[in-house]
């Protein structure tokens, strides 16, 4: 097979898909590291984000890319609200209870989307967009935007976590929650910030999935498992790990078609994951806290 073909039809789609997974996986890893549970509603909150953007496009008539920040902000506050309503009071309980609660939230958010927007496929831009040809490399604008925005958001998040006071507080909380409290960190505020960020990232990942394909009410749920695989693959709690994991899962899914029957493509994420757990349970980058 030609190199360009491999690049155009396997690697690039893989990277775009990987970027979408990465945005979700970063959120999952944040929740895992700071709040310490597996958040099963992640995919459906991403769906919500995608549809909020859709509403912004259709109802407010915003240009597509302008809908992204709107969706991120709205979803961020929705995530904060969900935390306040459904997770907050379970914080002292065994974690499994919160995991179950997040499953309940997943069902609720999804059915809400289905009631409001229906179950039909929708898209931000009607029609199709053919890729540009850059010296043989075929790329669409929206793909470039997807990858660049992902990189931009993750870098911004990294900078925030590394440089700002509240970013440090979040890292401290994920490192040693009790000690963070003793250092004067208000854990309520950290949780609030975490959900704000996680909600925003969720919306971005849903938005880009919708942009590159269509919006469907089940889209997020179907992304949940690859996103979890990416987070664990990269080492739980590692932002850059989640990005790396997302990209690997994305590319592996696409490239796998060359080697295995394509109906098993969906299993690729898990095969990688199981291998990873067998060989290096801590993930690619040694995980645990931020």
């Amino acid at each position: 097979m030609e190199f360009l073909e491999l690049l155009n039809f396997y690697i690039i789609p893989g990277l775009v898909l990987g970027s979408i997974y990465a945005l979700g996986a970063v959120g999952i890893t944040l929740v895992f590291a700071i709040l310490r549970y597996a958040h099963l509603a992640h995919g459906d909150i991403a769906t919500l984000g995608a549809f909020v953007a859709f509403a912004a496009v259709t109802l407010l008539g915003l240009p597509v890319y302008a809908a992204l920040p709107v969706a991120m902000v709205v979803t961020a506050f929705a995530a904060v609200g969900i935390d306040k309503l459904f997770y907050d009071y379970l914080r002292e309980r065994p974690r499994i209870v919160t995991v179950m609660a997040s499953l309940g939230v997943a069902l609720m958010v999804r059915s809400l989307v289905q009631v409001i927007w229906g179950v039909d496929a929708e898209s931000y831009i009607r029609g199709i967009a053919r890729p540009e040809n850059w010296w043989g490399i075929r790329l669409k604008d929206r793909e470039i935007v997807t990858i660049l925005t992902m990189i931009g958001l993750v870098l911004a998040l990294q900078l925030f976590l590394m440089k700002t006071k509240w970013g440090k507080a979040m890292r401290a909380m994920s490192d040693n929650p009790n000690l963070a409290l003793l250092s004067g960190v208000d854990n309520g505020k950290v949780v609030f910030l975490t959900w704000l960020i996680v909600g925003g990232l969720c919306a971005a990942s849903g938005f880009f999935l919708g942009l590159n394909t269509e919006l469907k009410s089940m889209m997020g749920w179907q992304m949940l498992l690859p996103m979890f695989a990416a987070a664990i693959l990269g080492g739980v709690g590692r932002i850059e790990g989640a990005v790396l994991g997302g990209l690997i899962v994305g590319v592996a899914e696409e490239v796998s078609v060359i080697f295995i029957p394509s109906e098993y493509k969906a299993a690729m994420a898990f095969v990688i994951l199981l291998l990873m757990l067998l060989l290096r349970p801590t993930g690619l980058l040694r995980g645990k806290v931020l």
């Binding site: 895992f32 549970y37 597996a38 459904f86 009071y89 379970l90 309980r93 499994i96 209870v97 179950m100 609660a101 499953l103 309940g104 939230v105 997943a106 069902l107 609720m108 999804r110 059915s111 809400l112 289905q114 009631v115 498992l225 979890f228 695989a229 664990i232 029957p261 109906e263 098993y264 969906a266 299993a267 994420a269 898990f270 095969v271 994951l273 199981l274 757990l277 067998l278 349970p281």
Partner: protein
């Protein structure tokens, strides 16, 4: 006349409750008593359902099988195969932290689902296996339902008694000890990895049996039946609602969830058809909400785990 129908329906629901009761008991052994986060129930359910289906169906073109064996052999085969699949999975995955075990088992279940869905020679892939014999299936509808209920109910009862016996026995005490403090259990001479594997396999075998009973109830098994939502998460919801660590709670949880699910449908059926379409989603919303409410107000489940091992000699 109406109440006979209701009764018939109750019989059907009881059969379902018994089948899911087996799944919930299996999960209770794994999670409730041993602390193993198995999120791949659907996988073992599928293995059991298909194993029994393949063993007991008559010859069919294009796939292995046609063994046409008696149903009990099929059920035993379902348990054995589910256990056999659980063995390597447990061997590999039980060393992980509970969240990792969850993800790993989800992954395994997903791979099983894809195999079931894609392999013609094994499972007739997406079309599923039909013509599965059903015990007492030749009787008239009502009698046949009742007979199957008796059969399934009997199995559940036997399993329940076995599990209860086992939990009340030194085995259960040991498992609770392992769950409480693994390090100390090892220091007290308990082979922790082996015991965990044992519980995992035992639970998996029950899930396999549940799958088999389901396949024979429907006389057909298709890949849609092993969707994680109805075969994994639903069982988790049932167990957590009913009370993990409590076998009666587990079965009660199954009953409560099915009854609510079912009756909410009867309710939404009364809506005008335009809304009835949306009602499906509203129902799912309500199920989610109900889960939240129970978690909030009864986080230990309807029947919490009992305090076991009280000697009764306190007053001596």
């Amino acid at each position: 006349m109406e109440w006979i129908g209701l009764l018939n329906y109750a019989v059907f629901m009881a059969i379902f409750i018994c089948i899911y009761g087996l799944l919930a008991l299996g999960l209770n052994i794994q999670w409730g008593f041993t602390g193993l986060f198995n999120a791949g129930i659907a996988g073992f359910f599928a293995v059991g359902a298909y194993a029994s289906a393949i063993l007991t169906t008559p010859e069919a073109a294009g796939r292995i099988g046609g063994f046409d064996l008696p149903v009990p052999v099929g059920w035993a085969g379902a348990m054995v195969l589910a256990a056999a699949i659980a063995w390597p999975i447990g061997k590999i995955c039980l060393r992980f932290r509970s969240d990792y075990l969850a993800i790993a088992t989800i992954g395994v279940a997903e791979i099983i689902r894809l195999v079931v869905k894609s392999e013609d020679w094994l499972t007739n892939s997406a079309r599923g296996v039909t013509n599965i014999p059903r015990p007492f299936g030749d009787l008239p509808y009502v009698q046949s339902q009742l007979a199957y209920l008796a059969l399934v109910g009997g199995i559940l009862l036997v399993v329940y008694l076995l599990v209860e016996r086992q939990i009340a026995a030194p085995w259960g005490r040991m498992m609770r000890a392992i769950r409480d403090n693994e390090l100390a259990a090892r220091a007290m001479g308990k082979d922790v990895p082996f015991r965990r594997l044992e519980a995992f396999i035992f639970g998996a075998a029950l899930m396999g049996l549940g799958g088999a009973l389901f396949a024979h109830l429907n006389r057909a098994i298709t890949p849609e039946a092993i969707d994680p939502m109805v075969a994994t998460f639903l069982v988790w919801i049932m167990l957590i609602l009913g009370g993990s660590g409590n076998n009666r709670g587990a079965i009660l949880g199954v009953a409560v969830v099915w009854v609510i699910w079912s009756f909410s449908e009867i309710l939404t059926d009364q809506f005008p058809p335009e809304i009835a379409i949306k009602a499906k989603y509203i129902r799912i919303f309500l199920i989610g909400l109900m889960l939240q409410l129970v978690l909030r107000f009864r986080p230990e489940g309807i029947l919490p785990e009992p305090q076991r091992g009280v000697s009764g000699k306190k007053d001596l």
